[in-house]
């Protein structure tokens, strides 16, 4: 797709447009949803769950979404573009010197990005602090979401956050684990079990099933943080 094909943003506002938006970055028009593990979870969150819009990007009472797994951010940028945070005409220059859109997102450069990421294992601890900061300011309504990868959970820093958030009862904190079986050392059911052992409410769902994702994202979990493990096709399958 060429830049002439770049359309106004309101023509790119649905799930069906996401492959085309990703194609603007990759130069591959046939870029399908299956090529990116995070796409469906990101879409359901931004389309139906997160209470944040471009107009509310600085509202202290907005929901926070922190992309911790910062590598492979095309799906994230595509969703941000479809939702009007990022201009569509930024996408073709993805990764170039003058582009705000790097191969890892930078919150200082990307409208709507709550954190910069790339180094694994930073988002969950920052999300814990964000949840605590909202609570300390009496902002009881906004929820905090963080997306991590299954192999990202190898990083020990996540476990400091997981082990703290459960006993601390941080029920505004939500983690989405995109599980594409990319961890070299893992046991079946291990991800949810580790969160549950730390006192989290946990559910494992099909990471391509929008209704299942939505139900899991919106299920009540009073007094406990929530993790949704979204299982998708194995990375190396």
């Amino acid at each position: 797709m060429t830049t002439e094909a770049v359309k106004r943003r309101n023509e790119y506002d649905g799930y069906a447009d996401l492959p085309g938006l990703m194609g603007l970055m990759s130069g591959d028009e046939k870029h399908g949803p299956a090529a990116t593990s995070t796409l469906d979870a990101l879409w359901v969150l931004y389309d139906r769950v997160l209470r944040v819009t471009p107009e509310r990007a600085d509202d202290p009472a907005r929901d926070r979404f922190l992309l911790s797994k910062g590598h492979g951010p095309m799906a994230y940028y595509a969703v941000l573009a479809a939702k009007g945070f990022v201009p569509v005409d930024w996408l073709p220059e993805f990764g170039s010197y003058d582009s705000p859109l790097g191969h890892h997102p930078d919150r200082v450069l990307v409208p709507g990005a709550e954190i910069g990421s790339g180094s694994l294992g930073h988002g969950l601890p920052i999300a814990v602090g964000t949840a605590l900061g909202l609570q300390a300011q009496g902002l009881y309504d906004p929820r905090v979401w963080v997306l991590v990868g299954d192999a990202e959970l190898d990083e020990g820093s996540n476990h400091e956050a997981i082990a703290y958030a459960g006993p601390a009862g941080l029920d505004r904190l939500h983690t989405v684990v995109i599980d594409n079986s990319s961890a070299s050392y893992a046991l079946p059911g291990g991800i949810a079990a580790r969160f549950e052992a730390a006192g989290w409410s946990a559910e494992t769902v099909d990471g391509r099933d929008h209704e299942a994702l939505y139900a899991a994202f919106t299920a009540p979990h009073p007094g406990r943080p929530r993790v949704v493990v979204a299982r998708v096709e194995p990375k190396d399958a």
Partner: protein, 305 residues
């Protein structure tokens, strides 16, 4: 005399009352001092357990919501262990915090090398935009803690130590103070090194500058001092020797000059004992300093015994 660390919790507890933006983040260390403050402000006095990556990450998250986090533990566990969190969660995320360390280079020598952090300031020097305060007295620590918390969303490091000078000076959170004027060279004494430096340079005819805010480095004060005292410069720092040599060189880049950087040695001593014994082992007692400074200045120093 009480210590800088004794002042930390009372001062920050008062700041919690005065400023609703202030939040304290701890990793067990120092929690006892905040018992009352935690009772009064349970949402703004946060203990994350023995989890130092979370300590910094959670501090950054608080800052992202608009709070002013004051983050505290021993220097080794505040700067060295979670250094990538300091670099990314604060610097790269473009948020501020006040990091307040205890234990310094060898405040607990019997605790051994695991609790020694002579490299903390040098590590922060690899990053952009940090203010570094090194108070030399509990009263100065109190002043500099207040400066640090009041510094908007700046990234500020406050290095508390058991080592202290006998008297506090009127530090302002920015500039070096001129403590003694001479013509035979300039000695910059950092924080708790001042008393030893004043003893060591008695009669040497040198200018002594007192630095408690070392980053940004007060280059203007150093240049002014060299106008009368010449461009032989000695830095005496309570952390890794040579930490400020590069910034002193930069301050004098257009002038012929010499810089001697004294401080804590790199070599691991594998010794326990007392603070004074470590001061001596690193050549930072008045006698050793006098010999090293005198040798560096040579004929220029008017040595009177």
């Amino acid at each position: 005399m009480d210590t800088m660390r004794d002042r930390f919790a009372p001062v920050v507890s008062r700041l919690l009352e005065e400023d609703p933006r202030v939040a304290v983040v701890l990793a067990e260390i120092g929690l006892a001092g905040f018992e009352e403050a935690q009772h009064r402000h349970p949402d703004r006095v946060i203990n994350v357990g023995i989890r130092e990556q979370l300590l910094i990450g959670a501090g950054a998250g608080l800052a992202l919501t608009g709070l002013r986090p004051v983050v505290h533990t021993f220097a080794s566990f505040l700067v060295e262990r979670p250094f990538e969190q300091v670099k990314l969660d604060l610097g790269h995320q473009d948020v501020g915090a006040v990091l307040v360390s205890a234990s310094a280079s060898f405040d607990w020598p019997a605790g051994g090398y695991t609790h020694m952090a002579p490299g903390d300031v040098a590590l922060l020097d690899t990053l952009d935009g940090w203010t570094v305060h090194v108070p030399g007295h509990p009263d100065e620590a109190e002043t500099l803690l207040r400066h640090a918390v009041a510094a908007g969303d700046d990234k500020v490091y406050v290095r508390l130590s058991e080592q202290s000078n006998a008297e506090a000076l009127a530090v302002d959170g920015t500039r070096f103070l001129t403590v003694r004027e001479g013509r035979a060279g300039v000695v910059v004494a950092v924080g708790p090194m001042l008393d030893e430096v004043l003893d060591a340079t008695e009669g040497l005819g040198v200018t002594v500058l007192y630095a408690t805010t070392v980053r940004p480095f007060d280059s203007a004060a150093l240049r002014r001092a060299t106008e009368a005292a010449g461009t032989d410069v000695v830095l005496v720092e309570p952390y890794l020797a040579g930490t400020s040599t590069a910034v002193a060189n930069d301050a004098l880049a257009d002038l012929p000059h010499r810089v001697l950087g004294l401080g804590v040695g790199r070599r691991e001593l594998r010794r326990y004992g007392l603070i004074e014994e470590h001061v001596t082992a690193h050549g930072l007692d008045a006698g050793a300093l006098r010999a090293r400074i005198g040798e560096f200045l040579g004929q220029r120093a008017r040595v009177r015994v």
